[in-house]
């Protein structure tokens, strides 16, 4: 009898708990459903926290009560892989920010969608704002003229030098890479590092490719042609740096931090430094007096072929994203000059051209006006679906040149070009 009573009490308690849980769930479900009916949720994966507008979409939410933007930070390095994984589980965000060279794999896997219609609607609604975005803003988010999103931030590397040291030595600002070597030789004679460069495998070879493009390097179907005049010249340039002791003797272990700190710390005279690092340089050195920058020099005899390469981090619309209208509103909000200007002032430069004219932006980045014309002529880093594997071969070529300064640069170029060709199936 006692046993039955106990059982009865236990059953009642269990039933109560279950009932409470079920009714709670039901209430929650009803509330969520009601919320879902009224509010469209747009998830945006940013590649770095710094890319998120300072107001964290507060103004957007006030203007668009029917749309809720949820942000998350998925590092650029893993954004492509994570998006693909999420897409397979139907959990992909609506908008994802990736490095521009991550677009091709996402298109190949049908993980991002054509936004031509969205762009046409934008143009019909507000042509001025879309025309304010430089051409690379659209190009870097497109493949074969099909847009998959929008690039609002793009970061080039500028040739950066110690203005005071060059003036003291009576040297002109280099116009060619041969001039860069001459400056490096003069600086070495004064006990300085002539040219600071990354030689390790710590990063993708984007500094190497930026120099290659400045030297007139060409790509065919997204494949860099290092077995060319520009490629051989580039490899020979790296070899000369080592052979003549114009760079650090530890160059093979130098990552971007070592390369930059040599310049910022007053050890190196020249380097290729990203626009986003300029504020940090300016904290230690005085712009216009101690240091300055310019578009990268060109290869002697190939001045017309030199271009300034830029990296970009497009916002792409995924295949399973919410309806166009909400996604477009979010893109338009992120592209507003005030938002791009705010992010650009503290981080990577933007592709919205009017930002370069704003007083506020120029006060924070006094060098911006000097580079504004060049920003309108940046060339995106070409992309190939096997980009990451090509990068490994380029790192091999770069390190081969640094390790073997006496070897024929043409031989290094030919060997590694053959490896790239074998990889891409040419």
């Amino acid at each position: 009898m006692k046993h039955y009573r106990k059982f009865g009490i236990a059953s009642t308690a269990t039933a109560l708990v279950c009932a409470t849980f079920l009714s709670g769930t039901a209430i929650l479900g009803v509330t969520s459903a009601a919320y879902a009916q009224d509010v469209t949720e747009i998830t945006v994966w940013f590649g770095r926290e710094n890319f998120i507008p300072a107001d964290a979409f507060e103004t957007f939410h006030a203007e668009n009560p029917g749309i809720r933007v949820r942000t998350d930070v998925i590092p650029l390095e893993q954004a492509v892989a994570d998006t693909l994984r999420a897409a397979r589980a139907n959990r992909a965000p609506d908008i994802v920010q990736v490095p521009a060279d991550g677009l091709a794999p996402l298109v190949a896997q049908n993980a991002v969608r054509d936004v031509s219609g969205m762009m046409e609607q934008w143009r019909s609604e507000d042509a001025a704002s879309i025309d304010d975005i430089s051409s690379i803003g659209l190009d870097m988010a497109s493949i074969d003229d099909t847009p998959y999103g929008l690039t609002l931030y793009a970061g080039p590397f500028w040739y950066t030098y110690r203005k005071d040291w060059l003036e003291d030595a009576g040297l002109d600002v280099p116009q060619t890479w041969d001039d860069v070597l001459d400056v490096a030789r003069a600086m070495k004679a004064e006990g300085r590092i002539g040219y600071s460069v990354i030689g390790s495998r710590a990063h993708d070879p984007v500094w190497f490719l930026s120099t290659f493009m400045a030297m007139g390097g060409q790509w065919e179907n997204g494949v860099p042609q290092i077995d060319s005049d520009a490629g051989r010249y580039l490899l020979n340039f790296y070899q000369t740096l080592v052979a003549e002791g114009l760079t650090s003797q530890d160059v093979l272990a130098w990552d971007s931090g070592a390369m930059r700190s040599a310049f910022i710390g007053g050890d190196a005279a020249q380097a290729m430094i990203g626009d986003n690092v300029y504020p940090t340089v300016n904290e230690s050195l005085s712009w216009g007096q101690e240091w300055d920058g310019s578009r990268p020099p060109s290869r002697p005899g190939a001045e017309s072929e030199g271009r300034t390469m830029t990296l970009g981090w497009p916002f792409l619309v995924t295949t399973g994203a919410a309806e166009d209208e909400s996604v477009l509103k979010v893109l338009q909000y992120m592209a507003r000059a005030e938002n791009v200007g705010e992010v650009s002032a503290r981080y990577q430069p933007g592709t919205v051209l009017s930002v370069f004219e704003s007083e506020e932006y120029n006060a924070v980045k006094p060098w911006a006006a000097q580079f504004a014309p060049e920003f309108a002529n940046l060339t995106p880093l070409p992309s190939h679906p096997r980009q990451t594997q090509i990068y490994q071969i380029l790192l091999d070529a770069m390190q081969a040149a640094l390790q073997n300064p006496e070897q024929d640069a043409a031989e290094i170029a030919a060997t590694h070009q053959a490896a790239i060709s074998a990889l891409v199936g040419n």
């Binding site: 190949a108 030689g199 160059v251 093979l252 490994q392």
Partner: protein, 300 residues
Amino acid sequence: MATIVEGSLRDKITMRMTPYVLLFPAIAIVAGVLGYAVVRGIIMSFFQIEVWEAEEPFVGLANYRTLFRSPGFQNSLLISLIFVGATIVIGLLMSLVHALVLNQIAFARSVFRAIALIPYLVSGVAAAVMWRFLFTGDAAIATQISAALGGSTVSWLADPDKALMVITMANVWFIAPFATLILLGGLQTIDPEMYAAAEIDGAGSWQKFVHITIPSIVPMLSLALMWLSFASFNMFDIILPLTGGGPGRSTEVLAVYMYQLAFRDLNYSTGAAVMIVILIINIALSAIFLRAAGRSRDDR
């Protein structure tokens, strides 16, 4: 009478089953997490899963054939064998010496034991940064010492041979403390009366070490060897931030090679094939060490 028999049978079953029941949650979690990954990895290695291809065709052993013909894989395998071999030899000797010393210490024993474990408690990336400071930059201690002795001032991490030495030293520094702990555990189980008896028989220190200490800790030695080998084969978090696999590909061990393939090249299937190769090597080495320990026990 019948009740007594039934009760004792139930007790017997309960007694026998209890350890398995208690172990089940742990086994289920390990099987669920690790087992799933391994099985999925094996399956993936038989398909061509590349991020730039929409299709994922079954290719059988093609990934393995491609892998074993690849100069990159051959290089990584060779580097791994050198790296693991050197780590095992140096790591085992160091941890044995440390364990013997710690076992002898009477004053502040717990403090010294805690200090000896510190490297193992540091995260791999933090350890890599510390080692990087030791070997790069003008103020690098290693460079300063080398310069003072009239040697080269080039960073060891910029030299392919020396870079391999640096990652081996860093790896030993990082993983040997746990091996020390294993061996110390073994040393503490040795009955002191065995040493006393040996002394009465006139045995010296070396004879006691060879004939009592080593045979008594063979299972622990085998365990320490297993730990050192598989921790080294899987080592990744120190090497990547320290050298990135360079200069050239001189420090690109199998784990780093696998990471490059799977997470940078997004070539999942070949990356999975490398994972299976590492797994097979680890299982084979563990079997060898366990067998050797078993044989030694049988001999005794």
